[in-house]
Amino acid sequence: MRIAIVTPYPPSQGSLNEYAFHFIRFLRQKPEISEIFILTDRLPDDAAYPPDTVAQPGLAPLHIVPCWRFGALDNALRIVRTARSLAPDIVLFNIQFASFGSSKPSAALGLLAPAMTRAVGIPTIVLLHNIMETVDLKSAGFGANPLVERLIRTFGAITTRALLSADLLAVTIPRYVEILEHKYGATNVLLAPHGAFDEAPPPSFEPPPGPLQIMTFGKFGTYKKIEPLVEAFRLLRETRRDLELVIAGTDSPNAHGYLEAVRLANVDLAGLRFTGYVAEEDVPRIFQDAGVVVFPYTSTTGSSGVLHQAGNYGRAVVLPRLGDLAELIAEEGYTGEFFAPENAQSLAEALARLLDDPARRRAMGTQNYLAACGLPMAEVVEWYILHAQNVLTVRNARRAARRREFVKR
């Protein structure tokens, strides 16, 4: 099977780049896959993607094809044109609602790509990491007032219908399947597990010697706000000096300059460290060095990659009491300490409960590790191959039936 995957891919810093990296790492090992095309976004200044250094016999060849640009209005056209020229057997989209742009027109127009790709005759599967119905638009950087928010929701529903015209649409949370089936009458939605990125041996559940690190990881500035976390860290530093707060990651594409502004506002705060972009090879160390991983979310969009990573490395986690995230924790077997969203005092108390109790941190890290081991990405990829094969079988059967009908006439 020749497969094209539309997704941000490292070193692109677009959202879901890391998920794509791991998904493709396992996908190319499968004997059913003969060739992979990554239809990805252009890098700043049109820099070249690094060559595929892990190519070897037994791995499907990987072709990186930068063909769209974050924020451009013509991404759907570019993707369809590129897909047609490559003629893969199937196209998989690894996306969320803001994958193609931070402005409403660019985000919405880009999401027409799956429908347009299918319209030109290429089978499509969409892996949608969030759905509009559960996104807090204000916190995510969209929808400044209620009227605008309602307008966006209407366009969101239209866009969702367009996405549902793919052959299959996969989501990672059972409730999303229910919403899409009930609200849109969809019959082509399926639940696919998120998958664990690494099949690493059991990690050390102890942080290294030195100051205990509180770490947060991601792309910040929209629904991941670090101000309450920094404030909570200030409160904790009043009584304990053996702490460090590590902000690992970059600005969200929708919030350029956000982290620098927070840094400048807190230059007096000892122990606060910003890592900037974390390269793939540095991710294990970042998590292993952390005593606690914090999720300073003001809303959730359903993407749970960081939670899975924290689990992979056996870390204790502190999360906001937000419906979606709590549900995800319960459904996937994770556990965490909870705080009231955007409340620094509540967050400081939640952190203190873990910082003061190494046994509890260890127990929580162990449970999260076991939860992350649930289904390895290698198995999740098998599911997508099965679904892709079914889509192709049904298509071929329909085509054969049409031919027979034509011959009869």
């Binding site: 597990p193 649930g374 198995e379 098998e382 599911w383 099965l386 679904h387 079914n390």
Partner: protein
Amino acid sequence: MALNTRSIGNVGVLDLHGRFDAHVAPAVIEWYGRLPAPQIVVNLVDVTFIDSSALAALAGGMKRCRQRDGDLRLCALQQPVRVIFELTRMHRAFEIFATEAEAVASFTR
């Protein structure tokens, strides 16, 4: 959970009971490896719960059998288990029969 196995002609039949989850899946995968013929029926009549690890074990078994020109077929799914198959759309990937007799007979057609 009990793992009872038997043969009907060339078809290996696996009876599972109770929860089919990450604790049971490794034993099922290990059983595939010992089968001489790649024709398997998994009888789920007494299974009350199934998780993603179990689905992965079944999908892996089906792939393995099909690579050897056989198949892994399922029978007698109870409602809670059927819901999981439908939610994950795995009911489209497997051949599923109402009874064990029908599933075994399907290999001789």
